[in-house]
């Protein structure tokens, strides 16, 4: 088997390596967090800032809710046949006080999840295309 290349499915949204983070921005004036990155104009209606710092968001959070999908979604989702069910979780970050969606890592079972469970961010293959593995951020029950 030839070694496949690895590439992010979207550039600049998360770091890789052992402890990956989502990349967001923080308003230089009012300190509000944004993900995906807000770089043009602050969405806090009481702030008119146009300057932001790029920051790494907390890589741990708690499950707000979750759901397992048993049907293949339409394009532009890309998947290899046969279709495998996948779980999407909504995860609440304590520090940033925001909820971010993501698939659960492969191998995680729905029955092992519950609202409030602590999870951490991982980067994993989402799909393979033309010999390249495209990655995305996912959530995985946190190791204590």
């Amino acid at each position: 088997m030839s070694e496949s290349k690895i590439a992010p499915s979207i550039e600049g949204w998360y770091t890789c390596g052992e402890s990956p983070h989502l990349i967001g921005t923080r308003c230089k004036r009012c300190s509000s967090y944004f993900f995906p990155k807000q770089e043009v104009f602050c969405r806090n209606p009481g702030c008119r800032s146009t300057e932001f710092d790029e920051i790494e968001l907390s890589r741990k959070g708690k499950i707000w809710s979750y759901t397992e999908h048993f049907y293949a979604p339409p394009e532009p989702y890309i998947f290899s046949e046969p279709f495998e069910p996948y779980i999407i979780a909504a995860v609440e970050l304590e520090e940033e006080k925001m909820i971010i969606l993501g698939q659960m890592a492969q191998g995680v079972l729905s029955q092992d999840l519950t609202t409030g469970l602590e999870v951490e961010l991982v980067v994993e293959k989402l799909y393979e295309q033309d010999g390249t593995d495209y990655t995305v951020w996912k959530w995985k029950p946190a190791e204590n």
Partner: protein
């Protein structure tokens, strides 16, 4: 309180999969509404269209599309896009023109032909569009969101899969008596619970389909209605509010909420604020309502809406359902039309269909699904990208 406008006529093309152009459906709804109002097309001063962005050129110019199809009469047009809330915005534009003395009688219309299966985003590579990215990056469909809310109800309030199925059973029964509904079939709780799981905990029979359909409403000034010698159903409020930052509930099509770390989350979440604004404008409260038509994109979502329009406290919607309060004959029937469960969604027509149902109910013309002695009702709906929609009508 807002000044009232009159509903002179309503009309619908039955929901279904008819394989025709949406203009044809809209024409039937318009002509039925004109007949219902006892008006001729040439009496109409403005056509307010509720548009969708899915049907190519004609869909982009819905107001003019119907004015042309009915035969150019020189009427003015206005066109509104607010996704599922387009109909409410079109009504609101009509109301504003009437209250500004710019027109006396306006035809509001929405119609759609929808594709099969899951609603998918527009084609092409659109790396800055959250509606496209959510599919590409995680396979996040519309039922994903409905399922996240449903699971949360189970974990927070003790809702069960049987409760969600009971909503479907109720709405299916309501829809049996609605000739404009797409589905006329009763289900048992067992049948619902045996349908395939789509997005856990929601099953195929609990997620609304997409349909073809059209609805039209003719609104006028109260003075115009008096001249026509009718005692009309009145529009008391139209709420088209947007969220307040930080929007801290996860909503379609986004994959994150705003952060509440710096600015605290508002007292009311978005869905609550939609109905709240309508009640304020009408000078009425939930206790004054005889019925509610809410957006049951999933069976479980109806329970959220019951709370969001103030029919009960947060976490009490399951009790309201189990006690039979939201079924026909109960204290506050919810979706007596059969709701989206029996219609499926015809996006730009749906908010107008809700108003048609209120009108028939308040006139006492709802036949086998009549809410006895109905005096006032509320609709609630939420369109993609922050479009709130709630209309209150009364006798």
């Amino acid at each position: 309180m807002a000044k009232e406008v009159a509903i002179l006529g309503v009309g619908m093309h039955p929901w279904g999969k008819w394989g025709k152009n949406f203009v044809e459906y809209g024409l039937k709804a318009c002509n039925d509404a004109l007949d219902d109002a006892g008006l001729a097309w040439k009496d109409i001063e403005v056509v307010a269209g509720a548009e969708t962005v899915r049907n190519g050129y004609a869909g982009y110019v819905a107001g003019a599309t119907f004015a042309e199809a009915l035969g150019w009469s020189g009427a003015r047009v206005s066109t509104s896009y607010a996704a599922c809330a387009s109909g409410a915005q079109a009504i609101n534009n009509a109301r504003a023109m009437i209250l500004a003395d710019m027109a006396d009688v306006i035809l509001v219309v929405g119609a759609d032909t929808t594709p099969k299966g899951f609603l998918a985003p527009n084609a092409g590579e659109r790396w800055t569009d959250p509606d496209w990215l959510r599919f590409r990056l995680m396979g996040c469909t519309n039922p994903t969101y409905f399922a996240l809310y449903a699971r949360r109800r189970m974990d927070l309030y003790g809702a069960t899969e049987a409760d969600f199925a009971a909503v479907k059973v109720k709405n299916a029964r309501h829809g049996m008596a609605n000739p404009n509904a797409r589905y006329h079939k009763e289900f048992t709780q067992e049948q619902v619970l045996n349908s395939p799981m789509v997005a856990d905990p929601l099953r195929l029979l609990e997620i609304c389909a997409t349909s073809d359909g059209a609805a039209a409403v003719i609104v006028s000034s109260m003075e115009y209605a008096r001249k026509m010698n009718v005692d009309p159903i009145k529009i008391r409020a139209v709420s088209t509010v947007t969220p307040v930052y930080p929007q801290s509930t996860i909503e379609m099509p986004y994959f994150s909420t705003d952060s509440a770390a710096v600015v605290p989350a508002p007292m009311m979440e978005f869905k609550e604020s939609i109905a709240h604004a309508a009640y304020e404008e009408a000078g009425l409260g939930p206790e004054d309502m005889s019925l509610a038509e809410v957006y049951d994109l999933s069976s479980a979502l109806e329970l959220d809406w019951c709370e969001n329009v103030g029919l009960c406290k947060k976490g009490d919607a399951e009790k309201l359902l189990r006690d039979g309060e939201t079924t026909l004959g109960g204290r506050i029937p919810v979706n007596p039309s059969g709701g989206l469960a029996c219609f499926g969604e015809a996006v730009p027509a749906q908010a107008l269909a809700q108003v048609c149902e209120l009108t028939w109910q308040l006139r006492g013309q709802a036949g086998g699904r009549q809410v006895e002695g109905a005096k006032a009702g509320i609709t609630a709906n939420l369109g993609l990208f922050g479009h709130g929609s709630s209309v209150i009508c009364s006798i």
